[in-house]
């Protein structure tokens, strides 16, 4: 029983991390209709930004997170205006190709710049934990979880209540109508993509504090984010949280009670099931 409680807590905390990883991907996908295959590479770059801030400037990874987000936000804005805007009206296949190319380029540039050595963001408290009844709560994961929830709820409120947020939602729902109401799509697309990349940066900073960083972590993270976005649905940031938690819990339970090799089978099996039963995601509107 104690073990089950611990496994569930592990799964929930893992799910929070998953949610923040997928948040940016789902936003960009939902609004720009671009499946950003370079999303994992942006998470990796964000992790390196946080790692540099921590290693060379001594900035705590959680306190430095806003800096990471701003750096990645600016990078995202530039990449959208300079590169992705060229293909914004192109068929889906072209956007896949260009973001895939971007992923390859970013990964290899990262190896040139940072080498293939493994890095960790390891402040003295990163491994701390506290006991709550029979369950151990790892501090860094708990903080990462809290940041993930805060960012997701903030995203949700931002989309609901701010002018820019409403414009983003309007564009996602009906581009022509949004333009008629004075939305300038180029700036809006760039802002959305920048927010997505900024969120990827935040996810990277958190990922580096609980796991390890090398230039090649991106592809697997993109795949995971992709699955979570589909499971949760693209309509609503809260769907991503649900998708992340769902996946985290399923993977933890599978690893403990069926076998660790089956964790991926379970998560992608769930993906297929969701596609069959609820194609627009767990929290998505049914068509």
């Amino acid at each position: 029983m104690d073990l089950l409680a611990q496994i569930l807590v592990n799964g929930i905390l893992l799910g929070g991390l998953y949610a923040i990883m997928a948040l940016g991907l789902a936003l960009v996908w939902g609004v720009l209709n671009i499946v950003n295959l370079a999303h994992g590479a942006f998470i990796m770059l964000g992790a390196y930004v946080s790692w540099h801030l921590y290693t060379y400037a001594g900035i705590d990874p959680f306190l430095g997170l806003p800096i990471t987000v701003v750096v990645m936000f600016v990078l995202g804005y530039i990449i959208q205006r300079g590169l992705l805007n060229l293909i914004v009206r192109a068929p889906m296949f072209n956007t896949l190709l260009i973001t895939f190319g971007l992923e390859v380029v970013l990964t290899y540039l990262a190896q040139l710049a940072f080498s293939a050595d493994f890095r960790t963001i390891n402040p003295s408290y990163a491994g701390n934990s506290f006991q709550l009844g029979p369950v151990v709560l790892p501090l860094a994961r708990l903080l990462a979880f809290a940041v993930a929830i805060i960012l997701t709820v903030a995203m949700w409120l931002f989309l609901l209540h701010t002018r820019l947020g409403r414009a983003i939602r309007a564009t996602a729902q009906n581009l022509v109508a949004a333009r008629l109401y004075g939305v300038e799509p180029r700036h809006l697309y760039a802002m959305t993509f920048a927010i997505g990349v900024g969120l990827a940066g935040a996810a990277g900073g958190l990922y580096g504090t609980v796991s390890q960083i090398n230039p090649y972590i991106g592809a697997a993270l993109t795949a995971k984010s992709f699955a979570i976005s589909i499971i949760g649905g693209l309509d609503n940031p809260l769907g991503v949280i649900v998708g992340g938690l769902f996946l985290g819990i399923i993977e933890s339970l599978t690893a403990a009670y069926i076998g660790p090799t089956f964790a991926d089978v379970a998560s992608f099996g769930v993906l297929v099931l969701v596609l069959i039963v609820r194609p627009s995601g767990l929290l998505g509107r049914t068509a």
Binding site: D2, L3, Q6, I7, N10, L14, Y108, Q111, S115, A116, D117, F118, R119, T120, N122, A126, G127, N128, S129, Q131, V136, P138, L139, A140, R141, V210, S211, Q212, N214, Y216, A220, E251, S252, L253, A255, A256, G259, P260, T261, A263, D264
Partner: protein, 405 residues
Amino acid sequence: MSKAQTIKIGIASFSVLASVALSSTLAAAKDIVLGASVQLTGPVANTGRYYRDAYQFAIDKINAAGGVKVGNETYQLALKLYDNQSDVNLSVRQYTQLVSQDKVNLLLGPFASNFALADSAISEKYRIPMVQGGGASDQIFSRKFKYIFGTLAPASDYFGSTIETMKTLKPEPKSVALLYADDAFDVSVAEGTRPKLKNAGFTVAMDERYSTNATDFNSLLSQIKSKNIDAVLVAGHETEILNFVRQAKSLAVAPKLYSFTVGVPSEDFRKALGKDADYAFGMTAWLPSADQKDRWFGDADQFAKAYREKFGYEPDYHAASGVADVEALVQAIEDAGSIDAQKVRDALAKVKFESVYGTIAFSENGQIDLPQTVIQVQGEKLVAIHGEKGPINPAKYPMPAWDAR
């Protein structure tokens, strides 16, 4: 002609020129060309570099010492190296290209067992001997192949000396968890370790295989804790082991001992973990020592120093094994008095010499047999605990709880 076209033609002709220039430097007369495909990029690039650097370092050293004598003639060594991008399929294609198009004389290996397992099929098919120092899995050598030679000790015996060490510890650990990744090397390790644990009287309380790309070990760690396991033996890759140790700390899981097949001997791993690397056990078939003489490098100690100066990082057993591969080929060429692939192969089967890496001699199946020295991270240092002749230094055991360090 438009400007763009001119530029295109310019680039095309330049690249043709460049490739002609490159291939002509390779095909210079009296060169023995050694071909290899190594992970220079991709997820295992940080281990692949040991082989790139070791091969080149050994070749430069041998050339500087006058090259290779074959009968009355002296040859220089050249290296034809491809980057397999950590992709097994690409690696197989590159070895095919090395033997069929580049016509290299002899082959050096890639890193990692799953690569060596696939690539050795090429050396066998084309009957070109390959000496590889990156694959330890017993599977590579169990197929009665005649052209594959390996300088890593058998995977099945990686934990052998660790189990001997465990018998000497007080209080003796009782229950053991054996965790391994699902690839050629780690499965061989597990298959070899299982009977050794039983014979030594340990209870194998957990025996779990996990996916090679796993990043989350929380479920396994929670089980280790709830089953109160004394000793944890993990066969995996560096990324997984980094995650394992970090997550063990964050869940406050501290068995009496844990030991890892990879990572512990390499500087990069210890740097990434910092203080959290303390108490981790591992094993290595090579520790630099002045007693280990070498014809070209003097001894292993001098080799380690020169390597560090040249490349800026510590060599570990991967690097020493890579150097031994080049030396084994050279020794075999000289013994055979020929660069004919068949004759070199026959000489390799009988070769016996001292190198920076140890005594190089291959058993019937083509694999070397070297004892694994148990090592442990103790504070800043890597300490040898238990070798072929028994205990060397006392182990720090049992590992204290994470909050009591």
